[in-house]
Symmetry: C2
Subunit: 338 residues, 2 copies
């Protein structure tokens, strides 16, 4: 079966392709095309099962109505949810979304950007990787609409949607302190990404305020050797001399692996050690575990990112030049299951 094109409809009806195009794009009002003609064309199009070829349309008008979404790991529930909401929102504006994955690899980020650019996406929403700054920079230089999400580069002039990571950490720590914890550990990725630095700083500041800061209780995990590093970190935190009575986990993956370790060691959460995690896991619904967590407004993050991007894409086509960079910083919620 071969696809029906405008040409086929035009031939069938003995009219020009131009007329068909006008009608099928709804530009027949304003008296551009006769009423009966328009009706005839529409009927024929439906009858022949016409479907527009968006590739051709895109080539001609230089727009694909597609957004490229690049996340760090689609199999992480946080990003999966983010993707979900971004897609829902994009659809409302008539955009489809191509989702791709970097697995936290800078190389892959570069590759994904190239692939997507060559498919002519109209803009990008990106969860950038560590050291991915220059790749983003390039995109911006070339006037590509871009919005960063979840993570951002403070030195880069790029619209971004993030949460207030610093205060999220502070909230988490205050919660632990209020519950009587005095020796509170931190499990976090070793990373230069700003959102990690912010989470760390929130931890440090809040503990220093309380006169409880002890740098030995900060455990930095390498993403590439995560299992081993967590074992080492937890062994240290759980050793008797540290007297740790609370731990803050800076990401959901770190939480899950560490809590599993603790349960395997028969540690009683809450009674022996209180914990706060970044992000929710399904597991926390099992209330018997007494796990508090920082909840990010995922839907809002997605909506905002799409909003900012759509704005940029419009602006570009109207050729305005004011570079309105916006950093949207959303607040998190401390969900206390106790």
């Amino acid at each position: 079966m071969t696809r029906i094109s405008m040409k086929d409809i035009a031939r069938e009806l003995g009219v020009s392709i131009a007329t068909v195009s006008l009608v099928l794009n709804g530009k027949d009002k304003d008296g551009r095309v006769g009423k009966e003609m328009a009706e005839k064309i529409r009927r024929k199009a439906k009858e022949m099962n016409y479907e527009p070829n968006n590739l051709a349309r895109g080539l001609r008008i230089g727009v694909s109505n597609t957004i490229g979404l690049i996340v760090a790991d689609i199999s992480n529930l946080f990003f999966a949810n983010l993707a979900f909401h971004i897609q829902e929102q994009a659809e409302k504006f008539g955009y489809s979304v191509i989702i791709t994955n970097t697995n936290e690899s800078n190389l892959k980020l570069e590759k994904m950007i190239t692939i997507l650019k060559n498919k002519l996406v109209d803009g990008f929403i990106i969860v950038p990787t560590e050291h991915g700054e220059s790749l983003i920079q390039n995109l911006v230089k070339r006037n590509m609409p871009v919005v960063l999400i979840d993570r951002y580069f403070p030195n880069l002039n790029v619209s971004s949607v993030i949460v207030d990571n610093y205060n999220a950490s502070k909230k988490a720590l205050r919660c632990l302190i209020n519950q009587g914890c005095r020796n509170i550990g931190l499990v976090i990725y070793k990373s230069d990404l700003q959102h990690m630095l912010d989470r760390k700083k929130g931890y440090v500041d809040e503990l220093q305020n309380a006169g409880l800061y002890n740098p030995a209780l900060i455990k930095e995990i390498n993403y590439s050797s995560i299992t081993d590093d967590i074992t080492i970190a937890m062994e240290s935190l759980l050793s008797r001399e540290n007297e740790v009575d609370g731990i803050f986990f800076a990401t959901n993956t770190l939480s899950m692996l560490s809590i599993k370790y603790m349960l395997d060691m028969n540690i009683k959460l809450y009674e022996e050690i209180k914990v706060v995690c970044f992000d929710k896991s399904d597991a926390f619904d099992f209330t018997s575990l007494h796990i508090s967590y920082i909840q990010q407004p995922i839907a809002e993050m997605g909506t905002n990112a799409v909003g900012l991007l759509v704005e940029q894409m419009k602006r570009k086509s109207v050729e305005r030049k004011e570079d309105e960079i916006k950093i949207v910083e959303l607040q998190t919620f401390l969900m206390n299951v106790l």
Copy 2:
């Protein structure tokens, strides 16, 4: 900044666009283009930062190197993982993947198919919705390469990748019976989709073999009123007169909600009621919960789906007509945490 095209390179070098195209597509070997010329073109292309326009290429050769993946719910970890593996595998064959979501809605499935077709994806991998049979049928009629995954329609002539749901259920039930359960409940979606019917049949058959079948212990949940229905179902299963000592949950979402309910009710898993779930959740790593589960070979499912699809897409371009429909049925694993 305006994109560099082949024309720009050709003009700059005083050669024809055709020559540039040949070189940049690696067709300059076989003595089609002079060695120095080819080198010059390649150097210039790099220097000018040329990047191919795949829209134009796709329009010309009728191929987009893009696969449309339609899942039922990207925020469900099972589908997120599936998407991840499909993408990894597709990339190996040079395809990018557009992921979209139906939210189990038939209407949305139709919309997504239309959108993707108009973007000229070369083929589809689809997790179909209930009653979505005719939509898939249409795609096949139009000679579109399609592979169904996770779910399939027995009456439809479409390649599909599924797991052996019937035997998965049987395994789960045997496990519960062997552990001494005598009154075993089933929590499953009310659905005509074959994979659900298979899971149900496995449950029924295995219990009948053991002389333990009791239809009153089957609870069918409506996707649209899931929370309420689960509450009602669990209340009934946990009521004293039923003496339920084991439950099989037919999907991951049903598992999570039901187990949460049980924990809220202070039911001791394993000691009071033993459970087996379909699919793993992060939560099960918390071994203290004693939850067994059926593990699906997600990566293998993804790999197989891409393989079947690529085969179809190739076949189509060579215009062969043997309709080689393949149903790949993979085996699951019963993961017993005890």
